[in-house]
């Protein structure tokens, strides 16, 4: 045996240490492995592309009526067929995608803007402020969401903008609660105390430390709230309170399709599949994100 001393360079340190994988990379790695989540992401991307570019490639607009060609099954000239007024269904579905996705985006922005801020403030300041703010949330939460949106729609008159408004007024509650819970927990951690001791102002603490570190649950809640928003719009349109004809939301298409279910089932098929796939995609993605961002499952 060779007992001569070993020089530090010869100790092969590098073989012993694991490459440091940052939290974000680790999360992305885990997400990629989740096939359902990746499938969801793909679906969302495809639908987004259809929404953005679909109508451009179509020779029809969503309201072009050709009564002679009413209720045609899918054909070369109308890929999805036509509805009872001869409008091209494929184009209308793509327009519906625009509406649904915009609802999703708006709902997210509202969640983000109001919900995160509200929850962050309540959680950070705690005490009286928190009690009052959360009491308000609790009371509002006790009111069934859909009921309120319906009521608001009755008052505001149907229309896309009003759907946004109605959703906006009540949709941020869940996010507020979640963010507040996160912030309450994070507030006690040492690095926050350290920052405070160093003289950081509350705003800096909230925006610079607490909220960024709550990003995980925020992203997951955001992703999972989108299907709910899409559903609400579809539901409202279905019962006649959402966007109105001739605008083509998926809910409107579905309600039109239900009427002709026996004779022309394909008219319901497209919006049904579209709604379901989109919601499915966001749900899969949201689930995957939740698993990937969960720090406890981290290696």
């Amino acid at each position: 045996m060779d007992f001569t001393r070993l020089k530090p360079s010869e100790t092969k340190q590098h073989l012993y240490l694991r490459p440091h994988v940052g939290f974000r990379q680790d999360a992305w790695l885990r997400l990629k492995k989740n096939r359902a989540a990746m499938a969801g992401l793909t679906i969302i991307l495809i639908i987004s592309l259809l929404a953005l570019f679909g109508p451009m490639f179509s020779p029809y607009s969503y309201s072009d009526q050709t009564l002679a060609k009413a209720n045609q099954p899918p054909s070369a000239s109308n890929w999805f067929g036509t509805d009872n007024l001869g409008r091209d269904l494929a184009t209308r579905v793509c327009y519906g995608a625009r509406i649904s996705l915009s609802i999703g985006i708006v709902a997210s922005l509202i969640n983000l803007g109001i919900g995160v801020l509200y929850g962050g403030i309540a959680g950070y300041f705690g005490g009286r402020i928190d009690s009052v703010m959360m009491r308000i949330v609790d009371v509002l939460y006790g009111i069934p969401l859909l009921l309120y949106v319906i009521l608001l729609m009755v008052v505001l008159k149907p229309g896309l903008l009003n759907v946004f408004i109605a959703l906006g007024l009540v949709y941020w509650l869940r996010m507020a609660r979640i963010v507040r819970a996160q912030v309450l927990g994070l507030k006690e951690l040492e690095y926050v105390l350290a920052a405070r001791v160093l003289g950081a102002t509350p705003w800096r603490l909230i925006f610079g430390h607490l909220l960024p570190n709550s990003l995980g649950p925020i992203i997951v809640t955001l992703t999972l709230s989108i299907p709910e928003a899409i559903f609400i719009e579809a539901f409202l349109s279905f019962i006649g309170l959402g966007v109105s004809a001739p605008m083509a939301s998926w809910g409107v298409l579905a309600s039109e399709g239900v009427v002709t279910l026996r004779s022309y089932p394909f008219q319901l098929l497209w919006p049904a599949v579209a709604i379901s796939l989109t919601m499915l995609g966001f749900n899969f993605l949201g689930d995957g994100l939740r698993d990937a961002l969960d720090p406890r499952m981290r290696r």
Partner: protein
């Protein structure tokens, strides 16, 4: 314990008050009054209606009057159907909806919970993937779409079940299934994730270290803990069943409260809309309250301390 019960009752009353007030204000916030949307009615008729519904009283008086009637249990007359009161409409529709709802809830619980448990116990193996697949589909396919698919398959194609109307038991099946789709899926997912969480807890490890049989561990140690979150879901689930019923009853032409609600929206029958909203909300609030009580009672940690909810 008593303390938190009282605080809950207080919250509940507050919520109900807010609901009634906001709904009332909304109804009366419609610009120009409820009748301007209609084609112009003759002057005399308008006067009549205003007198009957006391629309000319100052708002606070209308509000107080409404409360007075409410506390007597009187929700007022229907706007559209002159001979009917809101109470009558509700009395007619509610039992039907309740029956439908009960069946739907039973399906959700009886299928959802075992499915979720199976998924947790066979985590990452095929039963789990299967359950998760169905469950994710379940929460993604809106009830009205599920309803139409079911109608298409069972009523139009296979012709073994009726497509609409109400009557004997076979009329309940399709609507209840459509209504139960989303809640079942949600319960399955919730049970599964809750069970997975419980199974990774230290006290399960202790139970294993004591050499207890797996069935016993599951039944005695895991189940009670795992079902706690599911109990909390019961409140929102009832809400989901209510709102789901609006569409399902419309599609299946079931004479339930949900359909009356949708019709009243379509007709702009404001007193009915107001009345049914309050009715539904009250039931929901009471349900949530009962669920909270049940939760307090089941979880010994909370029972003892009488602390507010986490």
């Amino acid at each position: 314990m008593i303390k938190s019960v009282i605080s809950r009752i207080f919250s509940m009353t507050l919520v109900l008050w807010v609901i009634v007030t906001v709904t009332f204000l909304l109804m009366h916030a419609i610009p120009g009054g409820p009748f301007t949307a209609e084609k112009a009615l003759p002057e005399a008729v308008l006067k009549n209606i205003e007198a009957r519904y006391r629309l000319n009283d100052p708002l606070p008086k209308q509000y107080a009057d409404y409360w007075a009637n409410l506390l007597k249990g009187d929700l007022g007359p229907s706007f559209k159907y002159e001979s009917r009161t809101v109470n009558e409409i509700i009395a007619e529709g509610f039992p039907v909806s309740a029956e439908l709802g009960l069946v739907a809830v039973s399906i959700s619980v009886l299928i959802g919970i075992p499915a979720g448990m199976a998924g947790a116990l066979y985590h990452n193996r095929w039963p789990d993937h299967l359950v998760m697949l169905f469950a994710t589909f379940g929460i993604s396919v809106p009830s009205f779409i599920l309803a139409t698919v079911l109608i298409y398959i069972f009523a139009l194609w296979l012709r073994i079940l009726p497509a609409a109307m109400w009557g004997s038991p076979e009329y309940v099946i399709l609507p209840a299934l459509a209504l139960a789709g989303m809640p079942t899926a949600f319960i399955a997912r919730l049970t599964r994730s809750s069970m997975l969480e419980v199974l990774s807890q230290d006290y399960i490890r202790t139970a294993k270290a004591k050499g207890l049989a797996p069935i016993k561990i599951l039944w005695r140690h895991a189940l009670k803990n795992a079902l706690l979150p599911v109990v909390t879901y019961l409140g929102p689930m009832i809400a989901a069943i209510f709102t789901g019923s609006f569409v399902i009853e419309s599609i299946f032409a079931i004479p339930g409260l949900g359909r009356h609600f949708v019709t009243s929206i379509y007709n702009r029958d404001y007193t009915v809309i107001l009345g049914i909203t309050i009715f539904y909300s009250t039931i929901l609030v009471i349900m949530n309250f009962l669920v909270d009580l049940a939760y307090l009672w089941i979880d010994p940690r909370i029972k003892m301390d009488g602390e507010g909810r986490n």
